[in-house]
Each structure stands twice: as C-alpha cells, then as structure tokens.
C-alpha cells in the first residue's frame, strides 16, 4: 500500500512512522531501538529539505492525503532527531519517571 507521494517512495519502508499524534510518535520512539531509529533518520534526514520544498507548494490546511502522511513522517523525524543527534538513547537522560504529556496539538 502506497501512503507517501510518489517522489518520496524511497521512504515507504518507514511509513510506520506516519503517526497522527505526539503521544504515538513519542511512544514509538521509546519502544524503538537506536538501530531502528538510526536507519529511519539516515533515510529521511537527507530527504528533509526536498520534502519541505514539496510540501510548501501545497496548501497546508488542505493537504492531499499522501502529502499529509509525509508531514507526519517529518514530525517523527524531528522527534527522533533527539535520540540520534543528542542523547544516543531513546529517552531523555536523567528524565527517570518524569512524564510530560501533550494534551492539545494543532489540527494540522
């Protein structure tokens, strides 16, 4: 099943990162291995600039379904950038049992 725009078919193997809420994205981050996130990051990060240029051609509040999926994938890329670029582990170091829940997010 194709979910992403054709130009970004190379990211299809990572379509399971197209998640609609921050809670889902954060949970997937915590339950993923660093190898899994590194693979996602290595594939998606080089496509980030092109993806933004693609999405910027479209009306943000009326994105076609496949473009909306690409945007969700990039939200996950941002979330994963912390384990990959900063922490070297899925969880924020020294955050122990602390939890901060997103209770409201923008509609798009």
């Amino acid at each position: 099943m194709t979910t992403l725009p054709g130009e970004f078919a190379d990211l299809e193997p990572f379509a399971d990162w197209c998640l609609a809420s921050e809670a889902e994205r954060y949970a997937k981050r915590l339950s993923s291995s660093m190898d899994e996130m590194q693979a996602f990051y290595d594939a998606a990060f080089p496509r980030f600039a092109a993806g933004m240029a693609y999405l910027d051609e479209l009306e943000l509040n009326d994105l076609p379904e496949d473009a909306g999926q690409l945007l969700l994938l990039f939200y996950s890329l941002i979330n994963v950038s912390f384990p990959i670029e900063v922490w070297r582990q899925p969880r924020v170091p020294d955050s122990g049992a602390a939890a901060v829940d997103a209770v409201l997010e923008p509609a798009v």
Binding site: M52, D56, I78, F82
Partner: protein, 430 residues
C-alpha cells in the same frame, strides 16, 4: 567575570533591599499547614489566570477549570452579550457538579446554549440565571431569581482570562499586575493562536517548579547535553548572567540573552536545527505580523541586541515567557497538595502559512518537551530531600533573585492573612 552590568548597589538582590541576602528557609515548600494557609491567603484572594479568550471564541463556548488550590471548580463561558463570565461549577439545587463529562474530576470544554444539571435537569442561562426547574411547583416559597449560579469575579487582560475567588476583592487585574503587566500590553498575543498544550503531574510543591523556571543558572549544567560538546563546554565556562531583573509588588521578571536567529557559527547547532532554521528559542525568522517591532517597552528592558527571552513570574502561579523570535509560552502550576501540583505549559505561535513554518514550530515544541522532562525530573527528589529537614536554609545567588522574591512574597501573603484573621480581643462580659 561580569558580562552584563548590574545595578549600582553591586547586585540585583541588593537593588531590592527588602529581599535581604541571607540563606532562605524552605519550610514554606514542605509544610502541609503552610499550604493550607496559602490556599486561603493566596489562591482564594489573588487573580488567577485560567485561560485565554480563544478558548471561548463563540457564544456558549465554555471550559471548566479545577482549582484544588482554592477548593473549587469554575466554569468559564462566553455569554450572549459576548461577555466572558465564570461561575462556581455547582448546581444551586443540591450541590451536584454542574458541568463535567464522564469523569467529574476531569476538566472539560465545549459549546452549549445553556447549562443543564445531569442530576435533576435544572437549567441555567449562559449568564448564570436559573431558567428551568423540574417540577418547580414541588418547591416551597420558590423564586428562580434567587437561585442563579454563584458567580466568580472575572476579568480579561490582553486576552488572558483571570478569576478572583474573593468576593470582596476590589483590585482590577490591570492594577494587580502593575508596571510589569502594563509594560507588555499591546504585544500581539491575539495573533498567536496555534497552540500546543502539555501537562504533567509533578511530585513537588508548586513553588519548587517555579524556582526551576525562574532562574537560568542551571541551564549550562543541567541542559549541557542539549548543545554540541564544544558549545556546551563554552557555555559552562561562561556561566549564566541575566540581562536584567525587575521586581514590582508580588510579580517579577528576568530578561535573558540567547537564541540564535540565525547562529553566527552553524557548527554549534544540531543538524535538524540547521535544516529547519529553528530550535529551542523557536523559528529563527520572526513571523510577519504587526506588534513585534517595536516591542512594547516592558520587553527587553535593557535594550540588549543579544536579547532572547523575557520570563515574567506573575504571582502566584502564572509564568509568561516572550521569546525574541515572536512567540510566547505560558506555565501554570496548580497545587493539589503541599507536595504535588499539576504543571501546564502552553506554546503559542502565529498560525503557520506552509509546511516549513509548521515543522519549525514542531521542532520548538518537541525541544521544549525534552528540556521540561529534564527540569521536571529533579523536583520530586528535591522535595523529598527538603522534607528530610536535614538542611533547612539555602543560599540563593544573585541569579536566583526571583526565587528569593517568590518565597518571600508567599510568606508575606500568609503572614498578612494570619494578621487579618487574628480575632480582636473582646473583654469577657461580666
């Protein structure tokens, strides 16, 4: 080495001599008895910010706010005349909680034409008037006009909705917020309607989390790993000094340098930040709206070109952070007991025009959460160690002046309240 000028007295703290410079006793953060006094002296007396006008944008839009700290729940609504009102969330019949959904203790929101009690169907207009009583003729000497909802003083300042639970209060929000509030009037808060809301249950006294956000002395150490290694070493060697502090009545603010828009040296920021042109301080490019240049005169009070953020501590439990790149953040700390509170953080941006802008805001929001998780995790341990009373007094540095002021203000409100409650001595009737 001083990087920024301090007042002539030699320190910010000594510039406000009423604060003193001695170590500060933290009994106010660990005593159940003191918390009970705070509820009466502070949370039942002062203006509390419970939300924004955008939450009640239409006639009949409402939301509830649980105020454990004041022993009540309020419902805030826009009535038919466009006025924002608040009521104690209680049915006048037999005390049922009026507005709730599934779980009586959880906050809710929505839009309605009138409020209907789930218990016996009594109905109230949006202005609080009782308009329907099931089997009204069964009641004795009954006049519906006597049973409107119990109203709560409500005022809107710059789009922020405040309530005051003291019926005898005669101070307006504007007067209460004083010079610090007046200095930021006119900021385009109303343009920033793209909202992220976060919430956390924190096992510490409410003031301890304000402490954590009212000083940046901790930033180069606690958040060291958030910067690249080289930048982190540089920041720790440099330490933290604010651009300016101001104290006015119970309120205070700190003005800080920081942010990068864009950074002089791209190697000091993370790859994702370079691609997106965004980070902790928000998108590097200011949104194209009016009201950001020039800024209201209360922002960036030292007029520093390095300005990054102003943090206002609006007593008791409302913090307002205005960031140089044109967005703002609020923190609320709602006590639920002497050693627990609910922390709320709301991020407000100008609605994005395209996906790039949306993604830049997403990075700022995600970055915020990473920091907040670090800030929040130290608190439960701090609470339990202070509760050990092994150490009772703590030295606060000049960069921690706002903490000194906050705790002093809380103690002062409680002391004034106790003074006013002391019964006048009446000689026994003989």
């Amino acid at each position: 080495m001083a990087h920024f000028a301090k007042p002539a007295e030699g320190s910010w703290t000594e510039h406000y001599p009423q604060l003193g410079t001695a170590p500060v006793n933290y009994e106010d953060s660990i005593s159940p008895e003191f918390y009970e006094l705070e509820r009466k002296a502070i949370f039942n007396k002062t203006w509390l910010n419970v939300g924004r006008v955008e939450q009640v944008s239409r006639t009949g839009s409402y939301f509830t706010k649980e105020l454990d700290c004041a022993g009540t729940s309020v419902v805030v609504v826009k009535d038919k005349d466009g006025e924002v009102r608040a009521f104690h969330n209680i049915c006048r019949h037999r005390g049922n909680k009026l507005v709730w959904n599934d779980f009586p203790r959880e906050e809710t929101s929505g839009t309605c034409r009138q409020f209907t009690c789930k218990y016996h169907g009594w109905r109230y207009d949006l202005d609080g008037a009782l308009n329907f009583v099931q089997q009204e003729s069964e009641f004795f000497d009954f006049d519906k006009a006597d049973y409107g909802l119990a109203s709560v003083q409500t005022e809107v300042w710059e789009g922020f909705i405040f309530v005051n639970l003291d019926p005898e209060n005669t101070t307006s929000v504007r007067d209460y917020l004083g010079g610090l509030g007046a200095g930021i009037e006119g900021y385009p808060f109303g343009e920033m309607t793209q909202v992220y809301k976060y919430r956390a249950n924190v096992g510490s006294n409410w003031k301890l989390f304000i402490d954590a956000f009212a000083e940046f002395y901790h930033a180069p150490v606690l958040h060291a790993k958030q910067a690249t290694d080289e930048e982190s070493r540089k920041l720790q060697g440099y330490g933290f000094e604010a651009l300016a502090y101001e104290i006015d009545g119970p309120h205070s603010m700190v003005s800080s340098w920081g942010g990068m828009a864009p950074p002089k040296d791209p190697s000091i920021v993370k790859p994702i930040e370079n691609v997106l042109r965004s980070g902790l301080f928000g998108p590097w490019d200011r949104p194209a709206i009016d009201g950001l240049d020039p800024l209201p005169e209360g922002l960036n009070p030292s007029r520093s070109p390095a300005w990054g953020i102003d943090s206002f501590v609006l007593f008791p439990n409302f913090m307002l952070l205005v960031w140089a790149p044109g967005w703002y953040l609020t923190y609320h700390y709602w006590p639920t007991s002497y050693n627990s509170h609910i922390f709320e953080a709301n991020l407000y941006f100008v609605p994005p025009k395209n996906a790039s802008e949306r993604l830049r805001q997403e990075l700022a929001a995600v970055t915020f959460k990473e920091y907040a998780l670090q800030d929040g995790n130290t608190l439960e341990a701090t609470q339990s160690m202070i509760e050990s009373r092994a150490v009772t007094d703590f030295p606060l540095g000049d960069q921690e002046i706002l903490l000194r002021h906050l705790h002093k203000t809380a103690r002062q409100y409680v002391a004034d309240f106790e003074q006013s409650e002391t019964p006048v001595e009446i000689s026994a009737a003989s």
